[in-house]
């Protein structure tokens, strides 16, 4: 008797524990899975560092004109300001001799009342500080545009394949295979080289090329998730009550299948920015003097034997790129651990 009572008490305790687990408001809104993911990335130290880095870059991008203003009445603020046309790079701290920018309040407060080249110049008088600051804008702009369009394309194609299955799915998956056959950078390089004479230099050839060879992984991801979601019981239930195909698709399948793809995609921005920078580093896409980190790093290529004398051409834009990507990768790595079912509860 006593034993049975003890067991009952224990069971009570267990049940009590279970029902007493508090479900917070945010968890109720987000659902258990998403809540776990979001809580995870905001409590891991490495991903917090990542978020901090990303936030700094976003702030720099927003306040670029306040940090270093573009030339007055210029058509293209992304054109790096230059100080003369001297072919020898100037060291950081050299006074800005010709046509310096207007003084900004932070500069007067913290540095002085005369513009110097904070990060030095590259050959040709291009100011590296201007390039790095406005390059942040380019990076974020390009990252968002490419990511957004690629994702949209991937989702549409993946949904078509996953929802209709059959012949359409087969054809789409073959096309995906064909696109995935090429090494990513080389394919993007090819297409942007072809597009450059057609639409002219700028960010667009590389952007289009990166989209054209980037959508496949998202399409595959969302297709797989849709294939698994559509077999769930609640889809069957929706069918039974007579919901239309379109309603099932948009109200039930996509909302339940889209999160993994969205999360993976949002963290790919770092990689995308690097790919873009790599193309402009190779000299494909943007014209010389466009504020873009890859473009700036490529200035260092002309000075390889004397790079230790002209270190600033490489170090500052290189550092910007590495920190930007590191930010995204830190968040991404934490996320991968949280989402990996094999790693759960460890």
């Amino acid at each position: 008797m006593a034993e049975a009572q003890a067991i009952e008490k224990k069971l009570d305790g267990l049940i009590g524990e279970y029902t007493e687990r508090k479900i917070s408001r945010s968890e109720r809104i987000l659902g258990p899975e998403l809540y776990r993911i979001i809580k995870g990335i905001f409590t891991t130290p490495s991903s917090m560092v990542g978020f901090f880095l990303i936030a700094v870059f976003i702030l720099v991008a927003i306040f670029a004109p306040q940090i270093i203003p573009p030339k007055e009445n210029t058509l293209d603020p992304y054109k790096i300001r230059r100080d003369g046309f001297a072919s020898v790079p100037k060291a950081p701290g050299t006074v800005w001799a010709k046509d310096p920018p207007e003084l900004t309040w932070w500069y007067e407060t913290f540095v002085g009342d005369e513009w110097v080249h904070l990060f030095g110049t590259a050959s040709g008088g291009w100011d590296i500080f201007y390039g790095v600051i406005w390059g942040t804008r380019t990076a974020i702009k390009v990252g968002l545009i490419i990511e957004g369009v690629t994702l949209l394309l991937g989702i549409i194609i993946g949904c078509l394949a996953g929802f209709y299955r059959g012949v359409l799915d087969d054809i789409i998956m073959r096309v995906v295979e064909v696109f995935q056959t090429f090494p990513f950078i080389m394919a993007a390089m090819t297409l942007s080289a072809i597009l450059t004479p057609i639409i002219g230099k700028g960010i667009w050839p590389a952007t289009i090329a990166l989209v054209a060879f980037g959508w496949m992984s998202y399409a595959r991801l969302i297709r797989g998730d849709i294939l698994s979601v559509r077999e769930r019981d609640y889809i069957l239930a929706a069918r039974v009550v007579g919901a239309k195909d379109s309603r099932i698709m948009f109200k039930h399948i996509i909302p339940n299948a889209i999160y993994p793809t969205l999360v993976v995609a949002s963290l790919d921005i770092g990689t995308i920015v690097v790919s873009f920078a790599a193309l402009s580093f190779l000299g494909i896409g943007t014209e010389i003097g466009y504020a873009d980190w890859g473009q700036l790093v490529s200035f260092a290529r002309n000075w390889i034997p004397q790079l230790s004398n002209y270190w600033w051409i490489l170090i500052y834009p290189g550092m910007a790129l590495v920190l930007f990507v590191l930010g995204w990768n830190l968040v991404g790595d934490a996320l991968r651990d949280i989402m990996d079912p094999r790693m759960r509860n460890r």
Partner: protein
């Protein structure tokens, strides 16, 4: 199993046709005049030349006709002789390299192969080893350190890391120069008395008994190898670590422990071999990627391989060359993919027996 392989083999030509269509489709974004202008100098004066070239090579023809000609070549109506056609191995002439594309590939490809051969061991070996170390010290300081090291490397764009290497090692200390060989060694390698066995300089040098050239070639390979390895270690580290942790959680590990197997043996003999399966698949793709030319690394180190040839061609808008190179690399990757899938099927008993 056989069925699976046969299916994959049957699908391959289909994918290849798709690949060629895609490549040719990209080419046809350019107008005939734009495609010809690559080969004509002084364009305003030579308008007639351009027109005649467009006429002669049928660049005004419909897409599929042009595609057919590109694939199998032209037949001369009077003599019945065939010219051109990539199926017959005629890729055309490369303006950016000033030679036939086939010759370009023959000259550049061995260099890429050599770099890939020497990079495989440090890249995959060290990356996997780091993953094992991290897994063995799961959630301890060493684990965190290894992962941080990996992520940092993964965050370096190859061109930034490569240039940093050149700056700290080459520019500062004048060791480990870029390019493939020093000038003096290049003269000897291109001379009559140096017999070309494999086109891989290091191996040829040893076969010719020139130890100094062997060392010179190795000296030039060091920085590209370090660059390629470091930026890819994180990938192997992550996969090996999580696969190792998963393996340690399996029932057969509990069985082994219950039998009284030493913890060291459990780790090395029971968990490790099973955790290696994903590494094998990954390394197949990595090797294929290395063979298909590491565009940026080769460009920074002025290493004369396939990748740097493609980069040079695309900056000079030499579309014909770059499309041929992309076709070559696409083909390589396709074959590699097939091999990887089949090996995987053989390695995993669950797939093999189904």
């Amino acid at each position: 199993m056989t069925q699976y392989i046969v299916r994959r083999l049957l699908l391959m030509p289909l994918t290849l046709i798709g690949v060629t269509l895609l490549i040719f489709g990209m080419l046809s974004f350019l107008s005939p005049a734009e495609r010809v202008s690559l080969y004509v100098r002084d364009i305003p004066k030579n308008d007639i030349v351009m027109d005649s070239l467009i006429e002669r090579y049928g660049l005004d023809d419909p897409f599929l006709v042009q595609y057919y000609h590109w694939l199998v070549g032209h037949q001369d109506a009077s003599t019945g002789e065939w010219t051109g056609g990539i199926l017959r191995g005629e890729f055309g002439y490369s303006r950016s390299a000033n030679q036939n594309i086939v010759d370009l590939i023959k000259r550049r490809f061995p260099a890429t192969v050599e770099l890939a051969l020497y990079s495989i061991v440090p890249l995959i070996g060290v990356g996997t080893w780091l993953g094992i170390v991290a897994a063995r010290n799961h959630d301890k300081f060493i684990d965190q350190l290894a992962r941080l090291f990996g992520i940092l490397g993964y965050s370096f764009p190859s061109f930034v890391f490569g240039l940093l290497m050149l700056m700290f090692v080459y520019a500062e200390h004048q060791i480990f120069p870029p390019d493939r060989l020093s000038n003096w060694a290049n003269l000897i390698v291109n001379s009559e008395e140096f017999i070309n066995y494999t086109s891989l300089v290091t191996i040829d040098a040893l076969l010719n008994g020139r130890f100094d050239i062997f060392l010179d070639a190795l000296r030039h390979l060091v920085l590209p190898i370090i660059t390629l390895s470091y930026i890819n270690w994180a990938l192997y580290l992550r996969i090996m670590r999580s696969s190792m942790l998963e393996a340690m959680n399996q029932d057969y590990i509990v069985t082994a422990r219950a039998k009284g197997v030493k913890e060291k043996d459990v780790f090395n003999k029971h968990a490790k071999p099973n955790a290696m399966i994903p590494i094998v698949t990954m390394s197949g793709m990595t090797i294929a990627g290395l063979l298909s030319g590491v565009t940026i690394t080769e460009t920074i180190f002025i290493y004369p391989g396939i990748g740097s040839a493609a980069a040079a061609a695309s900056t000079q808008l030499d579309v014909v060359t770059i499309l041929s190179l992309v076709l070559l690399t696409g083909f390589l990757l396709l074959v590699a993919n097939l091999i990887v899938d089949i090996t995987y099927a053989f390695m995993d008993p669950r797939v093999r027996l189904s």
